[in-house]
Protein backbone atom coordinates (compact mmCIF):
# COMPACT_ATOMS: atom_id res chain seq x y z
CA UNK A 1 0.00 0.00 0.00
CA UNK A 2 1.38 3.40 -1.03
CA UNK A 3 0.87 6.52 1.06
CA UNK A 4 -1.07 8.11 -1.84
CA UNK A 5 -3.60 5.25 -1.61
CA UNK A 6 -3.74 5.66 2.15
CA UNK A 7 -4.60 9.35 1.75
CA UNK A 8 -7.25 8.46 -0.80
CA UNK A 9 -8.83 5.85 1.49
CA UNK A 10 -8.82 8.29 4.40
CA UNK A 11 -10.59 10.89 2.26
CA UNK A 12 -13.12 8.27 1.18
CA UNK A 13 -13.82 7.26 4.77
CA UNK A 14 -14.15 10.90 5.82
CA UNK A 15 -16.44 11.51 2.85
CA UNK A 16 -14.24 14.30 1.49
CA UNK A 17 -13.53 12.97 -2.03
CA UNK A 18 -14.70 15.11 -4.96
CA UNK A 19 -17.36 13.57 -7.24
CA UNK A 20 -14.73 12.77 -9.85
CA UNK A 21 -12.37 11.18 -7.31
CA UNK A 22 -15.23 9.18 -5.79
CA UNK A 23 -16.27 7.75 -9.18
CA UNK A 24 -12.72 6.64 -9.92
CA UNK A 25 -12.38 5.25 -6.36
CA UNK A 26 -15.55 3.17 -6.71
CA UNK A 27 -14.38 1.84 -10.09
CA UNK A 28 -11.12 0.71 -8.50
CA UNK A 29 -13.01 -0.92 -5.63
CA UNK A 30 -15.06 -2.88 -8.17
CA UNK A 31 -12.05 -4.09 -10.14
CA UNK A 32 -9.29 -4.47 -7.50
CA UNK A 33 -10.24 -7.08 -4.86
CA UNK A 34 -7.17 -6.54 -2.71
CA UNK A 35 -7.74 -2.77 -2.65
CA UNK A 36 -11.40 -3.33 -1.69
CA UNK A 37 -10.38 -5.68 1.12
CA UNK A 38 -7.95 -3.08 2.42
CA UNK A 39 -10.58 -0.31 2.34
CA UNK A 40 -13.05 -2.48 4.25
CA UNK A 41 -10.43 -3.37 6.86
CA UNK A 42 -9.52 0.33 7.33
CA UNK A 43 -13.18 1.19 7.77
CA UNK A 44 -13.60 -1.58 10.35
CA UNK A 45 -10.52 -0.39 12.25
CA UNK A 46 -11.94 3.11 12.38
CA UNK A 47 -15.32 1.87 13.59
CA UNK A 48 -14.01 -0.66 16.10
CA UNK A 49 -11.11 1.30 17.58
CA UNK A 50 -12.78 4.74 17.51
CA UNK A 51 -15.11 5.59 20.37
CA UNK A 52 -18.21 6.81 18.62
CA UNK A 53 -19.08 4.03 16.24
CA UNK A 54 -19.58 0.30 16.07
CA UNK A 55 -18.72 -2.00 13.19
CA UNK A 56 -21.81 -4.02 12.39
CA UNK A 57 -21.65 -7.41 10.69
CA UNK A 58 -24.07 -7.88 7.82
CA UNK A 59 -23.15 -11.08 6.02
CA UNK A 60 -25.62 -13.74 7.13
CA UNK A 61 -23.88 -16.31 4.92
CA UNK A 62 -20.48 -16.05 6.63
CA UNK A 63 -19.59 -19.53 7.89
CA UNK A 64 -18.93 -18.34 11.42
CA UNK A 65 -22.23 -16.44 11.63
CA UNK A 66 -24.07 -19.53 10.36
CA UNK A 67 -22.32 -21.76 12.93
CA UNK A 68 -23.11 -19.43 15.84
CA UNK A 69 -26.69 -19.03 14.70
CA UNK A 70 -27.08 -22.81 14.71
CA UNK A 71 -25.77 -23.06 18.29
CA UNK A 72 -27.96 -20.12 19.39
CA UNK A 73 -31.07 -21.67 17.87
CA UNK A 74 -30.44 -25.11 19.36
CA UNK A 75 -32.89 -26.34 21.97
CA UNK A 76 -30.05 -26.69 24.45
CA UNK A 77 -29.07 -23.00 24.17
CA UNK A 78 -32.69 -21.86 24.29
CA UNK A 79 -33.13 -23.89 27.47
CA UNK A 80 -29.95 -22.37 28.91
CA UNK A 81 -31.24 -18.88 28.09
CA UNK A 82 -34.38 -19.59 30.10
CA UNK A 83 -32.38 -21.10 32.96
CA UNK A 84 -30.15 -18.01 33.19
CA UNK A 85 -33.15 -15.65 33.16
CA UNK A 86 -34.96 -17.70 35.82
CA UNK A 87 -31.83 -18.03 37.99
CA UNK A 88 -31.32 -14.28 37.99
CA UNK A 89 -35.00 -13.59 38.63
CA UNK A 90 -35.00 -15.99 41.61
CA UNK A 91 -31.80 -14.46 42.93
CA UNK A 92 -33.27 -10.95 42.75
CA UNK A 93 -36.45 -12.10 44.51
CA UNK A 94 -34.46 -13.83 47.26
CA UNK A 95 -32.27 -10.77 47.68
CA UNK A 96 -35.33 -8.58 48.01
CA UNK A 97 -37.02 -11.01 50.50
CA UNK A 98 -33.87 -11.15 52.56
CA UNK A 99 -33.77 -7.40 52.68
CA UNK A 100 -37.41 -7.43 53.83
CA UNK A 101 -36.55 -9.86 56.67
CA UNK A 102 -33.64 -7.72 57.59
CA UNK A 103 -35.94 -4.76 57.60
CA UNK A 104 -38.31 -6.51 60.06
CA UNK A 105 -35.50 -7.34 62.43
CA UNK A 106 -34.59 -3.70 62.37
CA UNK A 107 -38.15 -2.51 62.74
CA UNK A 108 -37.75 -1.18 66.25
CA UNK A 109 -34.64 0.80 65.38
CA UNK A 110 -36.38 2.11 62.32
CA UNK A 111 -39.39 3.23 64.34
CA UNK A 112 -37.14 5.23 66.60
CA UNK A 113 -35.28 6.55 63.58
CA UNK A 114 -38.56 7.48 61.93
CA UNK A 115 -39.60 9.58 64.90
CA UNK A 116 -36.23 11.30 64.81
CA UNK A 117 -36.49 11.77 61.06
CA UNK A 118 -39.95 13.33 61.35
CA UNK A 119 -38.54 15.71 63.91
CA UNK A 120 -35.64 16.64 61.60
CA UNK A 121 -37.94 17.11 58.61
CA UNK A 122 -40.22 19.34 60.67
CA UNK A 123 -37.26 21.45 61.68
CA UNK A 124 -36.09 21.56 58.07
CA UNK A 125 -39.53 22.66 56.82
CA UNK A 126 -39.74 25.24 59.54
CA UNK A 127 -36.46 26.86 58.60
CA UNK A 128 -36.72 26.48 54.87
CA UNK A 129 -39.54 28.16 52.98
CA UNK A 130 -38.67 26.44 49.69
CA UNK A 131 -37.71 22.80 49.21
CA UNK A 132 -35.04 22.42 46.56
CA UNK A 133 -34.34 19.41 44.37
CA UNK A 134 -30.76 18.74 43.34
CA UNK A 135 -30.95 18.81 39.57
CA UNK A 136 -27.18 18.47 39.05
CA UNK A 137 -27.19 14.76 38.16
CA UNK A 138 -30.18 15.06 35.82
CA UNK A 139 -28.59 18.10 34.19
CA UNK A 140 -25.32 16.22 33.62
CA UNK A 141 -27.19 13.35 31.97
CA UNK A 142 -29.08 15.84 29.81
CA UNK A 143 -25.85 17.57 28.68
CA UNK A 144 -24.27 14.17 27.98
CA UNK A 145 -26.98 13.42 25.43
CA UNK A 146 -25.23 15.95 23.16
CA UNK A 147 -28.50 16.82 21.48
CA UNK A 148 -27.99 18.28 17.99
CA UNK A 149 -24.29 17.42 17.83
CA UNK A 150 -24.59 14.38 15.54
CA UNK A 151 -23.26 16.23 12.48
CA UNK A 152 -21.42 13.24 11.06
CA UNK A 153 -24.57 11.15 10.93
CA UNK A 154 -26.84 13.88 9.60
CA UNK A 155 -24.66 15.32 6.89
CA UNK A 156 -23.54 13.37 3.87
CA UNK A 157 -21.87 16.37 2.23
CA UNK A 158 -18.21 16.10 1.40
CA UNK A 159 -17.11 19.65 2.04
CA UNK A 160 -14.80 21.43 4.41
CA UNK A 161 -17.69 22.63 6.60
CA UNK A 162 -18.37 19.13 7.77
CA UNK A 163 -14.68 18.57 8.48
CA UNK A 164 -14.49 21.86 10.42
CA UNK A 165 -17.58 20.93 12.41
CA UNK A 166 -16.12 17.55 13.32
CA UNK A 167 -12.88 19.27 14.29
CA UNK A 168 -14.80 21.79 16.41
CA UNK A 169 -16.70 18.95 18.06
CA UNK A 170 -13.40 17.26 18.86
CA UNK A 171 -12.12 20.46 20.51
CA UNK A 172 -15.41 20.85 22.36
CA UNK A 173 -15.24 17.33 23.75
CA UNK A 174 -11.67 18.06 24.89
CA UNK A 175 -12.74 21.32 26.55
CA UNK A 176 -10.68 23.48 24.16
CA UNK A 177 -13.45 26.00 23.69
CA UNK A 178 -11.30 28.81 22.23
CA UNK A 179 -10.24 26.41 19.46
CA UNK A 180 -13.92 25.66 18.73
CA UNK A 181 -14.53 29.36 18.12
CA UNK A 182 -11.39 29.90 16.02
CA UNK A 183 -12.14 26.80 13.88
CA UNK A 184 -15.65 28.04 13.07
CA UNK A 185 -14.77 31.74 12.77
CA UNK A 186 -14.64 31.90 8.93
CA UNK A 187 -18.19 30.64 8.38
CA UNK A 188 -21.08 32.99 7.56
CA UNK A 189 -24.83 32.50 7.31
CA UNK A 190 -24.82 31.49 3.65
CA UNK A 191 -23.64 28.09 4.73
CA UNK A 192 -25.96 25.08 4.62
CA UNK A 193 -24.86 23.83 8.05
CA UNK A 194 -25.00 27.27 9.65
CA UNK A 195 -27.39 26.04 12.34
CA UNK A 196 -24.78 23.51 13.51
CA UNK A 197 -22.03 26.14 13.42
CA UNK A 198 -24.15 28.51 15.53
CA UNK A 199 -24.93 25.77 18.02
CA UNK A 200 -21.26 24.88 18.45
CA UNK A 201 -20.43 28.59 18.92
CA UNK A 202 -23.20 29.04 21.49
CA UNK A 203 -22.01 26.04 23.51
CA UNK A 204 -18.35 27.14 23.36
CA UNK A 205 -19.30 30.68 24.51
CA UNK A 206 -21.29 29.20 27.35
CA UNK A 207 -18.41 27.00 28.49
CA UNK A 208 -16.15 30.06 28.39
CA UNK A 209 -18.65 31.77 30.75
CA UNK A 210 -19.90 34.23 28.09
CA UNK A 211 -23.44 33.26 28.99
CA UNK A 212 -25.06 36.36 27.51
CA UNK A 213 -23.35 35.81 24.13
CA UNK A 214 -24.31 32.13 24.29
CA UNK A 215 -27.98 33.02 24.85
CA UNK A 216 -27.93 35.58 22.01
CA UNK A 217 -26.39 32.98 19.70
CA UNK A 218 -29.09 30.50 20.72
CA UNK A 219 -31.65 33.09 19.54
CA UNK A 220 -30.19 32.62 16.06
CA UNK A 221 -30.14 28.83 16.44
CA UNK A 222 -33.85 29.04 17.32
CA UNK A 223 -34.67 30.40 13.84
CA UNK A 224 -33.54 27.09 12.27
CA UNK A 225 -33.87 24.63 15.15
CA UNK A 226 -36.22 25.97 17.85
CA UNK A 227 -36.34 22.75 19.89
CA UNK A 228 -32.56 22.45 20.17
CA UNK A 229 -32.27 26.12 21.17
CA UNK A 230 -34.97 25.64 23.84
CA UNK A 231 -33.21 22.55 25.18
CA UNK A 232 -29.85 24.25 25.72
CA UNK A 233 -31.38 27.52 26.95
CA UNK A 234 -33.20 25.49 29.62
CA UNK A 235 -30.04 23.60 30.60
CA UNK A 236 -28.04 26.83 30.86
CA UNK A 237 -30.66 28.37 33.15
CA UNK A 238 -30.73 25.19 35.20
CA UNK A 239 -26.95 25.25 35.65
CA UNK A 240 -27.31 28.78 37.00
CA UNK A 241 -30.01 27.56 39.45
CA UNK A 242 -32.63 29.71 37.69
CA UNK A 243 -35.30 27.07 38.11
CA UNK A 244 -38.28 29.19 37.09
CA UNK A 245 -36.63 30.25 33.84
CA UNK A 246 -35.46 26.68 33.14
CA UNK A 247 -39.03 25.41 33.69
CA UNK A 248 -40.21 27.59 30.83
CA UNK A 249 -38.22 25.40 28.42
CA UNK A 250 -37.85 22.06 30.17
CA UNK A 251 -39.93 19.58 32.12
CA UNK A 252 -37.83 19.24 35.24
CA UNK A 253 -37.73 16.02 37.24
CA UNK A 254 -39.67 15.74 40.46
CA UNK A 255 -37.64 12.73 41.59
CA UNK A 256 -33.91 12.04 41.56
CA UNK A 257 -33.93 9.35 38.85
CA UNK A 258 -36.21 11.11 36.40
CA UNK A 259 -34.88 12.55 33.16
CA UNK A 260 -35.14 16.16 32.03
CA UNK A 261 -37.42 16.51 29.03
CA UNK A 262 -38.06 19.27 26.56
CA UNK A 263 -41.27 21.17 27.31
CA UNK A 264 -43.50 20.77 24.28
Amino acid sequence: MKIEDDILIEKFLKNTLSDEERTSFMKRMASDTSFKEHVILEQQLLEVLGDNYWSFATNEKNARVVAYKKILESEETQQLKTTIAETLEQHKQQASQSSVKHAFSLSFILKVAAVFLIFCISVFWYFSSNTTIDYAAASKRAWDKNIGLDFALRSTSADTVKVSLEKALYYYSHQEYDSVLSTLKPYRDANHQYKDILLMRALAHYRLHYTKTAMTTLDSVAIHAPKIAKWYRGLMYLDQHKIEEASLFLELPSEANQEIKLKE
Partner: protein, 188 residues
Protein backbone atom coordinates in the same frame (compact mmCIF):
# COMPACT_ATOMS: atom_id res chain seq x y z
CA UNK B 1 -6.96 -19.90 29.12
CA UNK B 2 -6.35 -21.01 32.72
CA UNK B 3 -7.83 -24.25 34.08
CA UNK B 4 -9.81 -22.20 36.59
CA UNK B 5 -11.38 -20.16 33.82
CA UNK B 6 -12.15 -23.25 31.74
CA UNK B 7 -13.90 -24.81 34.72
CA UNK B 8 -15.80 -21.59 35.34
CA UNK B 9 -16.97 -21.42 31.71
CA UNK B 10 -17.90 -25.09 31.76
CA UNK B 11 -20.00 -24.51 34.85
CA UNK B 12 -21.62 -21.48 33.25
CA UNK B 13 -22.21 -23.51 30.12
CA UNK B 14 -24.03 -26.13 32.21
CA UNK B 15 -26.16 -23.32 33.63
CA UNK B 16 -24.86 -23.88 37.19
CA UNK B 17 -26.81 -21.40 39.26
CA UNK B 18 -24.06 -20.62 41.81
CA UNK B 19 -21.62 -19.53 39.08
CA UNK B 20 -24.21 -17.35 37.35
CA UNK B 21 -25.16 -15.68 40.65
CA UNK B 22 -21.53 -15.22 41.64
CA UNK B 23 -20.76 -13.48 38.36
CA UNK B 24 -23.91 -11.36 38.69
CA UNK B 25 -22.93 -10.26 42.21
CA UNK B 26 -19.37 -9.44 41.14
CA UNK B 27 -19.93 -7.65 37.85
CA UNK B 28 -23.53 -6.46 37.60
CA UNK B 29 -23.14 -3.30 39.77
CA UNK B 30 -20.36 -2.11 37.42
CA UNK B 31 -22.47 -2.85 34.31
CA UNK B 32 -25.48 -1.14 35.82
CA UNK B 33 -23.41 1.94 36.62
CA UNK B 34 -21.98 2.05 33.09
CA UNK B 35 -25.32 1.60 31.31
CA UNK B 36 -27.15 4.13 33.51
CA UNK B 37 -24.40 6.67 32.89
CA UNK B 38 -24.65 6.13 29.14
CA UNK B 39 -28.30 6.86 28.37
CA UNK B 40 -29.60 3.49 29.54
CA UNK B 41 -32.21 2.27 32.00
CA UNK B 42 -32.14 -0.38 34.70
CA UNK B 43 -33.80 -3.04 32.50
CA UNK B 44 -31.16 -2.44 29.82
CA UNK B 45 -28.34 -3.42 32.18
CA UNK B 46 -30.11 -6.70 33.02
CA UNK B 47 -30.63 -7.49 29.35
CA UNK B 48 -26.99 -6.72 28.50
CA UNK B 49 -25.75 -8.95 31.34
CA UNK B 50 -27.80 -11.92 30.11
CA UNK B 51 -26.85 -11.42 26.46
CA UNK B 52 -23.14 -11.17 27.30
CA UNK B 53 -23.29 -14.31 29.39
CA UNK B 54 -25.02 -16.26 26.64
CA UNK B 55 -22.56 -14.88 24.07
CA UNK B 56 -19.55 -16.19 26.00
CA UNK B 57 -21.12 -19.57 26.64
CA UNK B 58 -21.99 -20.00 22.96
CA UNK B 59 -18.46 -18.99 21.95
CA UNK B 60 -16.99 -21.43 24.44
CA UNK B 61 -19.28 -24.20 23.21
CA UNK B 62 -18.11 -23.65 19.65
CA UNK B 63 -14.41 -23.60 20.58
CA UNK B 64 -12.33 -22.55 23.60
CA UNK B 65 -10.79 -19.10 23.16
CA UNK B 66 -8.10 -17.06 24.89
CA UNK B 67 -8.87 -14.28 27.31
CA UNK B 68 -5.94 -11.95 28.03
CA UNK B 69 -7.46 -10.40 31.14
CA UNK B 70 -9.34 -11.50 34.23
CA UNK B 71 -12.67 -13.08 33.37
CA UNK B 72 -14.60 -10.32 35.20
CA UNK B 73 -12.78 -7.58 33.28
CA UNK B 74 -13.30 -9.34 29.97
CA UNK B 75 -16.96 -9.93 30.73
CA UNK B 76 -17.42 -6.24 31.59
CA UNK B 77 -15.76 -5.27 28.30
CA UNK B 78 -18.14 -7.55 26.36
CA UNK B 79 -21.06 -5.86 28.15
CA UNK B 80 -19.68 -2.40 27.30
CA UNK B 81 -19.38 -3.38 23.64
CA UNK B 82 -22.92 -4.79 23.57
CA UNK B 83 -24.20 -1.51 24.98
CA UNK B 84 -22.09 0.50 22.52
CA UNK B 85 -23.59 -1.65 19.74
CA UNK B 86 -27.08 -1.04 21.11
CA UNK B 87 -26.59 2.75 21.22
CA UNK B 88 -25.22 2.82 17.67
CA UNK B 89 -28.02 0.65 16.37
CA UNK B 90 -30.52 3.06 17.97
CA UNK B 91 -28.77 5.96 16.23
CA UNK B 92 -28.98 4.08 12.94
CA UNK B 93 -32.67 3.46 13.52
CA UNK B 94 -33.30 7.16 14.07
CA UNK B 95 -31.32 8.35 11.07
CA UNK B 96 -31.62 5.50 8.59
CA UNK B 97 -34.86 3.71 9.43
CA UNK B 98 -35.34 2.75 5.77
CA UNK B 99 -31.99 1.01 5.62
CA UNK B 100 -32.48 -1.25 8.58
CA UNK B 101 -33.73 -4.74 7.99
CA UNK B 102 -35.60 -6.62 10.64
CA UNK B 103 -32.90 -9.12 11.49
CA UNK B 104 -34.13 -12.13 13.49
CA UNK B 105 -32.92 -12.27 17.10
CA UNK B 106 -30.54 -15.20 16.80
CA UNK B 107 -28.96 -13.83 13.61
CA UNK B 108 -28.41 -10.53 15.41
CA UNK B 109 -26.91 -12.37 18.39
CA UNK B 110 -24.63 -14.30 16.01
CA UNK B 111 -23.58 -10.99 14.43
CA UNK B 112 -22.82 -9.58 17.88
CA UNK B 113 -20.55 -12.55 18.60
CA UNK B 114 -18.45 -12.18 15.43
CA UNK B 115 -18.29 -8.41 15.99
CA UNK B 116 -16.86 -9.10 19.46
CA UNK B 117 -14.36 -11.55 17.96
CA UNK B 118 -13.29 -8.88 15.48
CA UNK B 119 -12.95 -6.39 18.36
CA UNK B 120 -10.77 -8.92 20.26
CA UNK B 121 -8.54 -9.45 17.23
CA UNK B 122 -8.08 -5.71 16.52
CA UNK B 123 -7.45 -4.68 20.13
CA UNK B 124 -5.05 -7.59 20.69
CA UNK B 125 -2.97 -6.61 17.65
CA UNK B 126 -3.09 -2.92 18.55
CA UNK B 127 -1.73 -3.82 21.99
CA UNK B 128 1.17 -5.64 20.32
CA UNK B 129 2.46 -2.43 18.68
CA UNK B 130 5.08 -0.11 20.18
CA UNK B 131 3.79 2.38 22.76
CA UNK B 132 4.25 5.28 20.36
CA UNK B 133 2.33 3.56 17.52
CA UNK B 134 -0.38 2.44 19.91
CA UNK B 135 -0.96 5.91 21.35
CA UNK B 136 -0.83 7.57 17.94
CA UNK B 137 -3.28 5.12 16.35
CA UNK B 138 -5.66 5.22 19.32
CA UNK B 139 -5.98 8.99 18.87
CA UNK B 140 -6.06 8.74 15.07
CA UNK B 141 -8.98 6.28 15.16
CA UNK B 142 -10.79 8.66 17.49
CA UNK B 143 -10.52 11.19 14.64
CA UNK B 144 -8.04 13.47 16.39
CA UNK B 145 -6.95 16.13 13.83
CA UNK B 146 -3.39 15.90 12.47
CA UNK B 147 -2.38 19.34 13.83
CA UNK B 148 -3.38 18.24 17.35
CA UNK B 149 -1.34 15.02 16.99
CA UNK B 150 1.63 17.04 15.70
CA UNK B 151 1.70 19.18 18.88
CA UNK B 152 0.97 16.30 21.21
CA UNK B 153 3.79 14.09 19.89
CA UNK B 154 6.21 16.95 19.10
CA UNK B 155 6.49 16.17 15.39
CA UNK B 156 7.82 18.83 13.02
CA UNK B 157 4.96 18.82 10.55
CA UNK B 158 1.60 17.24 9.80
CA UNK B 159 3.27 15.38 6.97
CA UNK B 160 5.59 13.62 9.44
CA UNK B 161 2.55 12.66 11.53
CA UNK B 162 0.85 11.24 8.44
CA UNK B 163 3.96 9.20 7.53
CA UNK B 164 4.20 7.82 11.06
CA UNK B 165 0.50 6.90 11.17
CA UNK B 166 0.85 5.25 7.77
CA UNK B 167 3.72 3.07 9.02
CA UNK B 168 1.96 2.15 12.27
CA UNK B 169 -1.28 1.36 10.48
CA UNK B 170 0.53 -0.85 7.96
CA UNK B 171 2.16 -2.75 10.83
CA UNK B 172 -1.23 -3.20 12.49
CA UNK B 173 -2.85 -4.40 9.26
CA UNK B 174 0.05 -6.79 8.70
CA UNK B 175 -0.37 -8.30 12.18
CA UNK B 176 -4.12 -8.65 11.73
CA UNK B 177 -3.84 -10.29 8.32
CA UNK B 178 -1.24 -12.76 9.55
CA UNK B 179 -3.59 -14.05 12.24
CA UNK B 180 -5.70 -17.09 11.28
CA UNK B 181 -8.81 -15.52 12.80
CA UNK B 182 -8.80 -12.76 10.16
CA UNK B 183 -9.79 -15.10 7.33
CA UNK B 184 -12.89 -16.20 9.23
CA UNK B 185 -13.91 -12.65 10.03
CA UNK B 186 -13.01 -10.59 6.98
CA UNK B 187 -16.27 -10.96 5.08
CA UNK B 188 -18.69 -10.52 7.97
Amino acid sequence: MSQKMILFLENLSDGKQEEVILLYQKVFPKIEHYVLNNNGRLGDADDIFQRALLQLIVRYRKEPFDIHASFENYFFMVCKNLWRRELNSTRLTIHNSDLLNNVPDETDNAFAIVEQERYDLFTEKLAALSDNCKQLLQLFFKKTPYDVLMHKFNYNSESVVRQRIFKCKNRLVELIKKDNRYDNLKDV
